[in-house]
């Protein structure tokens, strides 16, 4: 599977220095307030073993689905520019995804790029076409035929 498959990329600019933003991801007290959090949940556990090969576990209590356990392992810790960890929610899906955080200094502070790879599972395709490309192609094909007819209920 090519790297571009099933990839979610989000960027954000911060008015804080790279070190501060980087440390927030590995600081239990700060990370529990945003990492793996959702707007309606309450984080009840945040365990971080911040070394390569170390594990983390975040448990969030959500009103609609109970306790949701997020687990993973740190693969690369290169303060303050790069952090890579695996991440999964075993109770929903045994597959793990990979999150890469890259931080670059900027005039105002820093720019962060978060990439979550493997958001959609790998079904061992032979022709290496990206899911996103497959989707885009199919959606475009349908859109052309059923212009505006199917996207809305």
């Amino acid at each position: 599977m090519t790297a571009e498959m099933a990839r979610v990329v989000v960027t954000h600019s911060f008015a804080a220095p790279p070190e501060r933003v980087f440390d927030a991801f590995l600081d239990q007290q700060i990370a529990r307030r945003f990492l793996f959090a959702t707007s309606t949940g309450q984080m009840i556990t945040a365990q971080i073993d911040a070394r390569v090969g170390g594990q983390f576990c975040f448990i969030e209590r959500r009103p609609d689905m109970g306790d949701v356990r997020h687990v993973g392992e740190y693969l690369q810790i290169e303060r303050p520019r790069r952090l890579v960890f695996t991440f999964g929610v075993p109770q929903f899906d045994p597959r793990m995804t990979t999150v890469t955080i890259e931080i670059r200094p900027s005039a105002a502070g820093c720019d962060l790029t978060l990439t979550n790879d493997g958001v959609l599972p790998d079904y061992a395709e032979r022709n290496h076409q990206g899911w996103s490309r497959i989707l885009a192609g199919l959606l475009a094909a349908y859109d052309g035929v059923h212009a505006g007819g199917w996207q809305k209920d």
């Binding site: 989000v10 954000h12 008015a15 933003v21 945003f34 959090a37 022709n127 497959i134």
Partner: protein
């Protein structure tokens, strides 16, 4: 979870190039199974198998007209898949905005 199972069925259905080609064929309109089979160098039996997998994912719907089985495309599961990716992106964006909020508050 039901939501994920549906997504899995969609992904399994789309993982095969023949099934994607069948979907592309159906995107230009409803077709009889025999007409679909003619377009591919595989047996009618094997086309039927592919169609069943597409039906399980609800990407294709079957309608009987006399003795004919007419297959039509239902693109909604693709829409659901695209929406799911969009939701994932929105969730991460929200988390990073939260982090910014926390850091701003701390430096005050």
């Amino acid at each position: 979870m039901g939501e994920y199972k549906g997504l899995d069925h969609t992904l399994i259905a789309l993982a095969d190039p023949t099934r994607r080609a069948i979907l592309a064929r159906l995107s230009s309109g409803e077709a009889r199974i025999t007409d679909i089979a003619v377009a591919f160098p595989i047996s009618l039996n094997s086309v039927s198998k592919h169609l069943r997998i597409l039906e399980r994912a609800d990407l294709v719907r079957r309608r009987r007209l006399g003795r004919e089985h007419l297959m039509a495309l239902n693109p909604r599961p693709l829409d659901a898949m695209a929406k799911w990716i969009t939701q994932q992106r929105a969730l991460w964006a929200w988390r990073l905005a939260e982090l910014e909020h926390i850091l701003n508050k701390e430096s005050q």
